[in-house]
């Protein structure tokens, strides 16, 4: 049990971060507003969780301009996808 708990990723303990990661692993990319709408959180809240995941190198972003407005696309990195897979495996083991 103890060992299994260590397998769980701290980065995904938070529901918002878990949600961001779930959405990003099944989509090539999502922009800030799509994530905001999906999760139903405020700008500030979302931004801080995104920054947190960025620091762990689980997600990355690209800035581009759509109709001269800045648009930020977020996507999951390979490291992030692997970490997420491990996290889900650990949960499944725990629930066995």
């Amino acid at each position: 049990m103890k060992e299994l708990l260590n397998e769980l990723d701290k980065a995904f303990e938070n529901r918002v971060r878990l949600g961001i990661m779930s959405a990003l692993v099944v989509n090539d990319f999502l922009d800030f507003n799509a994530l905001k709408e999906l999760l139903g959180v405020t700008d500030g809240n979302l931004a801080s969780h995104l920054k947190n995941l960025e620091k762990s190198a689980y997600i990355n972003f690209e800035k581009e301009f759509v109709d001269r407005k800045p648009n930020t696309k977020y996507y999951a990195t390979d490291i992030g996808k692997e970490a997420f897979r491990k996290h889900i495996n650990a949960i499944e083991q725990l629930l066995k």
Binding site: R15, L18, G19, S22, A23, V25, V26, N27, L30, A34, E37, L38, L39, I88, I91, E92, L94, L95
Partner: protein, 204 residues
């Protein structure tokens, strides 16, 4: 403790579905599209196919009137049913407070229309050459391929509906004289059946 992780898994699954699949597809619009298709098939039977033996592999000489009637019925059926699907699905997304025009619906429409427009052009080419018989199975096959192509972006049922349409089209190609019956089954009957399934399952 365990409850938290069960909740987590639920959340993960829901977020994956909601972010990648369009689930507000209106079931009732499937039923109405089916009814319109049945009406279209009936009209085509009365006005065009009852007069002569058009449903064969051979190229047949359609009279100008027959050709116009067939084209008008086909276009009217298509426009009315697509219009209703768009209208009713828009209503459904409004009810669920979702956006109708976002990256999900864009992705679905693009992937739906690539096989559909290809099929449309193929069918029209055959129709202009007088090969009326083969166009019926071909519409089923291309429609099935189009559904299969978008099934990963929307409710799961669309995949099996697509497969049914493809199989119906292929079988119908062997029984070309009954083309209109297969067409009515594929576009009429199965739309109605699947409309009800989606309606019941997703309460839409």
């Amino acid at each position: 403790m365990k409850e938290k992780y069960i909740e987590d898994l639920k959340e993960i699954k829901e977020m994956m579905n909601r972010s990648s699949r369009f689930l507000s597809l209106s079931g009732i619009s499937g039923v109405t599209a089916g009814i319109i298709a049945l009406a279209g098939a009936y009209l085509a039977h009365r006005m065009v196919f009852s007069q002569s033996n058009l449903l064969s592999f051979n190229s047949v000489e359609l009279s100008g009137e027959q050709f116009i009637n067939l084209l008008v019925i086909a276009l009217a059926t298509m426009i009315v049913s697509i219009g209703l699907v768009i209208f009713l699905t828009t209503q459904e997304t409004k009810k669920r407070r979702q956006k109708i025009w976002d990256h999900q619906t864009k992705r679905i429409l693009i992937n739906l229309f690539i096989p559909l427009v290809t099929g449309g052009i193929v069918c029209l080419s055959f129709l202009f050459k007088g090969f009326v018989g083969v166009t019926m199975p071909l519409t089923l096959i291309f429609y099935g391929l189009a559904l299969l192509n978008v099934s990963k972006y929307t409710v799961n049922e669309i995949r099996s509906l697509g497969l049914i349409e493809i199989v119906l089209g292929l079988v119908s190609l062997q029984f070309i004289a009954y083309g209109l019956w297969f067409w009515a089954a594929g576009f009429g009957l199965f739309h109605i059946v699947y409309g009800f399934i989606v309606k019941l399952k997703y309460k839409s």
